[in-house]
């Protein structure tokens, strides 16, 4: 989450995550009403807002991260902070900041068309989400309209680290892979927190695993001592990265 606990710390966290081996950075812009998020991300948003973080600050964090290392940075936020600035103005600012993609969880397929083409016109990917409740016909349309990758929500529910992956997640990944194969990379998120989760979804055919809440939880521990917490985050991400390579 950008600005949790403050903007400079976010840059440090992103660097630790990259050192651990992450290939893409997902950076959150905090919103007052995050309906798709569970406790961990909600709390991170509260901390970020309390530190006075504005959407423009998060875009600056993106620029800093890209300066340190040339990796794709994807911004995740709800539609209102974007709409508040004006979608075009927001996307222009995002492009200037070097942002590569945008994920908007409350902008499903039917509402995302205009925003998606405005983003793509600026060379920014508009990443759509698919869910366990998404049927075959809709999945085809979502795959056809997403860009960058498909964000597959692994479980029915909100974000948040879970102890175990469900068997249904493996079936879901295989189902989605049928549609994304040869078209767009498949990334699986929500609930993934352990190396064995990563191993399982990659084994089932996913091209990437997205880990949010589990990292945010570790960021929450920063207050004690930053260096130590950053070291733990780096080691944690390294364990996840290893899992992608040893199916």
């Amino acid at each position: 989450m950008g600005g949790d606990p403050d903007p400079q710390a976010s840059v440090d966290v992103a660097e630790a995550v990259l050192k651990g081996g992450a290939d893409i950075i997902e950076l959150g812009i905090p919103f007052s009403d995050p309906i798709a998020d569970g406790r961990a991300v909600q709390a991170a948003g509260v901390r970020a807002l309390r530190s006075g973080t504005k959407p423009a600050d998060v875009l600056r964090i993106a620029t800093e991260v890209k300066k340190a290392r040339d990796v794709p940075v994807v911004v995740m936020t709800y539609f209102n902070p974007i709409l508040s600035r004006g979608a075009s103005a927001f996307l222009d600012a995002a492009r200037r900041s070097g942002v590569d993609g945008v994920i908007v969880p409350d902008l499903p397929l039917d509402e995302a068309r205009k925003f998606g083409s405005a983003a793509r016109a600026r060379g920014i990917d508009s990443v759509l989400l698919a869910a366990p409740t998404t049927g075959e016909e809709r999945m085809k349309k979502i795959v056809a309209n997403t860009s960058g990758f498909l964000y597959l929500v692994s479980v029915i529910g909100v974000t948040g680290a879970r102890e175990q992956l469900k068997d249904s997640t493996i079936r879901l990944v295989k189902f989605a892979k049928r549609f994304t194969q040869g078209k767009v990379p498949l990334a699986v998120g929500f609930g993934i927190s352990r190396p064995e989760h990563v191993r399982t979804v990659i084994g089932a055919g996913a091209d990437a695993a997205i880990v949010g809440s589990a990292i945010v939880d570790r960021v929450a521990a920063i207050e004690g001592g930053e260096d130590e917490a950053l070291g733990r985050i780096e080691a944690y991400v390294r364990s996840l990265k290893h899992a992608t390579m040893s199916p």
Partner: protein
């Protein structure tokens, strides 16, 4: 309506993908059952025999005399079972949920009136219910929390954000997105993603239909003006909707003016377009799009959003949206109590305050109907505190 589920540019379905199939299923079921004779007659029976419809359109003679202007009529939704108009909607949606085979009902509540109405409808229909309520509202509306518990509902206090209605809705949406197979989300106002704003409006339109019928039969004409309070906007939408095409009837929506320009819940008066709770609508927000910290003495009006159809009716200027302050509402509460022997809910007192002002500016052969959306028992402690009365 140019696009399904839109009122001009407002409305829509801004929800996580997981919920999309669920709201599409809801839309299909609603379309099917609203045309179903058995469903309609079952609901009509419940409204009549369980909720106590029709409610009277009462001529407030003492207030009228005092105002020295138009005749004031009160649409007595406060006399309904549970003490508010909310039961019109909870019976409708509760019955729909049952027909859809859902067994667990969740709801949000601000003042607690929708929570109580949900608890009652669910008990009557044999459904389980759980209600989300902000901790600040739990504190200021204790009586309703107690009532919900007695009616067999589990109340979940929500200690997030501003700890009021908007946060209760956030939490209810999270519950729904997690449990959508067996769970029905019973929204209490004309807010949320399509089809909720239409569905809740339809279930509440019984208010306006009765006003039309009653005023024609007693006065031979429609009222010249209608006044109702607007939080999310369900009682006002239900009051106005049957009159939208009656161009001779002036419509006034009364928002919570709180303590002034920086401290209110008057979304249509001071907000700008945004997206929250699945809908595009006017929204009280800061320059970065974070929803504002709202304030109203009436918990049921303390909400930064508003139903999308209201946003549209404001833009096309069919309805005038005005504000009444905390203090004016409290004054109207006392006035109605002393003049007519009726304790209105603080929410409804906003409408009463504006109706009194409006009636004074109108001619004696004209009439104003004001919707008394609920009764004020739940607010006596707040009123007592403000007036220095020991209870």
């Amino acid at each position: 309506m140019p696009e399904r589920g839109r009122f001009g540019r407002y409305g829509g379905q801004y929800v996580p993908e997981t919920l999309v199939p669920a709201i599409k299923e809801l839309e299909r079921s609603y379309r099917r059952f609203r045309a179903d004779d058995e469903f309609r007659s079952e609901l009509a029976g419940l409204l009549k025999n369980y909720a106590g419809r029709p409610t009277p359109l009462y001529f407030a003679g003492n207030m009228t005399k005092k105002g020295r202007g138009a005749k004031i009529y009160l649409k007595r939704e406060d006399l309904l079972h549970g003490g508010a108009h909310k039961i019109n909607n909870t019976l409708g949606q509760g019955l729909l949920a049952k027909k859809m085979g859902k067994t667990r009902i969740i709801a949000e509540t601000g003042a607690g009136q929708h929570g109580v109405a949900t608890a009652m409808a669910c008990a009557a229909l044999g459904l389980e219910s759980e209600v989300y309520m902000g901790t600040e509202d739990v504190e200021r509306q204790k009586l309703n929390v107690f009532r919900m518990k007695l009616l067999g509902t589990e109340v979940h206090p929500v200690d997030a954000g501003s700890r009021t209605l908007k946060d209760a809705i956030n939490e209810a949406l999270r519950d729904w997105v997690t449990n959508l197979t067996d769970t029905y989300y019973l929204i209490g106002s004309v807010v949320g993603p399509h089809p909720y704003p239409i569905m809740v409006r339809d279930f509440q339109s019984v208010i306006g239909r009765e006003i039309a019928k009653q005023s024609v039969s007693t006065q031979g004409a429609h009222p010249d003006a209608l006044v109702a309070c607007v939080g999310g906007g369900s009682n006002s939408m239900g009051t106005f909707y049957p009159f939208l095409r009656e161009k001779g009837v002036r419509l006034y929506g009364v928002e919570a003016g709180g303590t002034g320009r920086d401290h209110n819940a008057a979304t249509l008066s001071y907000g700008r377009t945004g997206v929250v709770h699945g809908m595009m609508t006017y929204l009280l927000q800061d320059e970065d799009g974070q929803t504002g910290q709202t304030h109203s003495v009436a918990a049921g009006l303390d909400y930064p959003g508003v139903g999308p159809e209201h946003s549209y009716l404001k833009d096309i200027k069919r309805v005038s949206y005005v504000t009444v302050s905390d203090e004016e509402a409290v004054k109207a509460f006392h006035a109605l109590a002393k003049e007519e022997g009726i304790l209105p809910a603080l929410e409804s007192a906003h409408a009463v305050a504006y109706a009194m002002k409006l009636a004074s500016s109108m001619k004696p052969d004209e009439s104003v109907a004001v919707t008394l959306s609920g009764r004020g028992d739940k607010d006596v402690q707040i009123i007592g505190k403000r007036s220095g009365l020991e209870l």
